[in-house]
């Protein structure tokens, strides 16, 4: 908006040249961490205000929130279960963001993945071990999400249709389609879900650690962590990943360097959709063993928050998923004192605060650097 005065610009270049290596790594860390810290602080303040409005003591509510989540192994198991789905949707969105694309469609990609996995499960012969069926289920879930994501990628690559709008519209279209298929052909009467799958139910964490008893956490958690590692490797250690990030930073420059942005967009959205689709396994195979309408329950949108707070880095995504899962589960823990809906407000506040403070922190750090 305003151009810096000449002497300021000169100042920047000399100081940065003098201490470039040290300063750049430190300021990069500051740029990455500060917005999330600011966001948590803002969320804590808003949370306090809401709790006070409801006539409760913030300290007592936050203590209860902590005890109900990290304070006992059932609560922690529930946090891990919720974090599993959020890791997939957060990773899906972070992956697309690295290619410069905003995938708002993780919600329907997640649902489509869970749906297709359930369909395949209904067709499998009963009684097969999960070790045999897991690859089949994974392929189905990835296909379900990948087709939806890939469609948005194609629409952008072929026709230049903006992926934000197409993924939002696809959310409504895909969810309506799944609702139609479930309602007319698949559901058990009087319910919103399909028959129970007779093959390939995954072990829960409580099968290995008895103290998790009753919580829904299951081995899809391990798949989520593996997905993060693979995504990291793909993004930062392969040629394809380098091309993807190049297109994300500057499509015109990447094209000049011999990369076809259209192909990268389609590929990135397909993979992003497939990752979100895999998240459907957490509910369908790990928890209920059937597809139920509406199981995604907003995890696709919360994934946007996870991706942003996690700095669009696979490792950060895992940590951010834990944070948001804690907030979600914490709402249930404190429901007796304040309406659980207050955590929905907190989650939205965190997103706004991060989105606002990322550019602001960058600007302030730049000013500080030019002064120092």
């Amino acid at each position: 908006m305003t151009t810096a005065s000449p002497e300021l610009t000169q100042d920047t270049s000399t100081t940065e040249a003098a201490a470039a290596p040290l300063r750049s790594s430190r300021s990069r860390l500051e740029e990455a961490l500060l917005p999330s810290l600011v966001a948590l602080l803002v969320a804590a303040i808003v949370g306090d205000v809401l709790i006070l409005i409801f006539g409760q003591a913030p300290a007592a509510v936050f203590r209860l929130l902590f005890e109900g989540t990290w304070g006992n192994s059932y609560g922690f198991g529930q946090v891990l279960y919720k974090a599993t789905t959020l890791t997939f949707t957060g990773l899906s969105i972070a992956f697309a963001l690295r290619a410069g694309l905003f995938n708002i469609g993780a919600e329907s990609q997640l649902a489509a993945g869970g749906f297709l996995a359930a369909i395949v499960g209904l067709l499998l012969p009963p009684g097969l071990s999960w070790i045999v069926t897991l690859p089949v289920y994974m392929a189905a879930a990835a296909l379900g999400g990948g087709v939806v994501g890939g469609a948005a990628g194609q629409l952008k690559a072929r026709f230049g249709a903006h992926e934000v709008i197409t993924t939002i519209m696809l959310n409504f279209i895909v969810l309506a389609l799944l609702s139609f298929l479930t309602a007319t052909h698949l559901k058990v009467p009087e319910t919103l879900h399909t028959k129970e799958l007779e093959s390939g139910a995954l072990p829960r964490l409580s099968d290995f650690f008895a103290s998790f008893h009753g919580s829904a956490a299951n081995v899809v958690l391990v798949l989520a962590m593996i997905a993060c590692v693979i995504a990291w490797w793909y993004l930062f250690r392969t040629r394809r990943g380098f091309e993807l990030r190049a297109v994300g930073l500057q499509p015109e420059a990447a094209e000049y360097g011999g990369v076809k942005p259209g192909a990268v967009w389609t590929r990135a959205m397909t993979i992003s959709g497939a990752i979100a689709g895999l998240g459907g396994l957490n509910f369908v195979l790990g928890y209920k063993h059937y597809y139920e309408e509406g199981f995604a329950g907003g995890a696709g949108f919360l994934g946007i928050a996870v991706a942003l707070v996690g700095g669009t880095h696979p490792l950060g995504v895992m940590l951010a998923a834990l944070l948001f899962a804690t907030i979600s589960q914490g709402g249930l823990a404190v429901n007796a004192m304040v309406p659980k809906q207050f955590v929905e407000v907190l989650q939205a506040v965190v997103i706004i605060a991060v989105a606002v403070s990322v550019p602001e922190v960058r600007r302030l750090l730049r000013i500080q650097r030019t002064r120092g």
Partner: protein, 294 residues
């Protein structure tokens, strides 16, 4: 008679779309993405329920609804204009915030997690689906006027000219002395008020607020904005078209010609087709989503 009833029902369904889409046109023509329409509507609806219930007057509900939609729009404006936060992120967050806040305050104000008590509306207790109830409801008339009003502002007033300049070429707007930031705030606030009125209509028509009662109508309005290529007249027609499809589905429910889920898809499918440019490409305002463009 059937045709008249069909028109009346189409209009009733279209009113919230017309309000919100009028807001969508204003916001997007000024360069701010209209993902927030759903959130404006929901908070406008809730505020209207509070105002109408505690003020015992439908008109106080209207005022409160205007404030509710406007407050959300102000938050969007400050985040996206002052702090230059990503509009898509803020847009999604505003919608989540509206859901969370309305649920929280539903518990606080009415002690319920699903709906408010009965609130005052227009047309008294016996407001049915009849034609008289329709023409005696001032919100219907406001809704019909929303799109023409926005068209008049955009094409016949200096403010509208500035909005269009800011949305197409902010740098040029700055160079001729247009206060870009102020114009953007104005457009966003108006869009929040208009979409908020869409929510007000729903509450006063149904005489209560229910959790998530806007049910994606803000996104249908966004679809109409894009499908109508950001031109008020076309956008208005798109709203009526989408509403007519819904009415047809409701009236033919017995016939089972088309499952309701497929009727729900119509606005979204048409929007994707319009964006893909199969029949006349939809080209958004040049500076849409790029507030730091000046």
């Amino acid at each position: 008679m059937t045709a008249l009833l069909f028109l009346a029902q189409t209009l009733r369904i279209a009113i919230p779309y017309l309000f919100a889409a009028a807001g969508g046109v204003l916001s997007e023509r000024a360069g701010l993405i209209g993902l927030t329409l759903e959130g404006y509507m929901l908070s406008g609806a809730f505020a209207a329920a509070v105002g109408s219930y505690y003020g015992h007057s439908a008109w106080l509900g209207v005022l409160a609804g205007i404030a509710g939609g406007g407050a959300m729009a102000l938050l969007y404006g400050v985040s996206a204009i002052r702090f230059r936060a990503d509009q898509v992120v803020i847009g999604i967050a505003i919608n989540l915030l509206a859901i969370g806040l309305t649920r929280f305050f539903l518990r606080l104000a009415f002690g319920s997690s699903s709906n408010s008590p009965r609130v005052a509306g227009f047309g008294g207790e016996q407001s049915g689906t009849g034609f008289l109830a329709l023409v005696s409801n001032p919100m219907i008339w406001l809704g019909i006027l929303a799109i023409p009003a926005v068209a008049w502002v955009l094409y016949r007033t200096p403010f509208g000219l500035r909005i269009r300049a800011v949305g197409e070429h902010p740098a040029a707007a700055v160079s001729v002395g247009i206060p870009v930031t102020r114009v953007r705030y104005g457009a966003v606030l108006f869009s929040g008020v208009l979409a908020g009125l869409g929510g007000v209509y729903l509450v006063l028509d149904q005489h209560q607020f229910t959790d998530q009662m806007t049910a994606g109508r803000g996104f249908i309005a966004l679809a109409a904005t894009i499908f109508g290529r950001w031109d008020p007249a076309r956008v208005g027609i798109a709203c009526l078209l989408f509403a007519a499809a819904e009415t047809l589905q409701i009236q033919l429910q017995g016939a089972q010609l088309l499952p309701s889920q497929f009727v729900e898809m119509i606005p979204y499918v048409l929007t994707i087709i319009a964006l893909a440019g199969v029949v006349g490409r939809a080209v958004p305002p040049a500076a849409l989503g790029k507030v730091s463009g000046e």
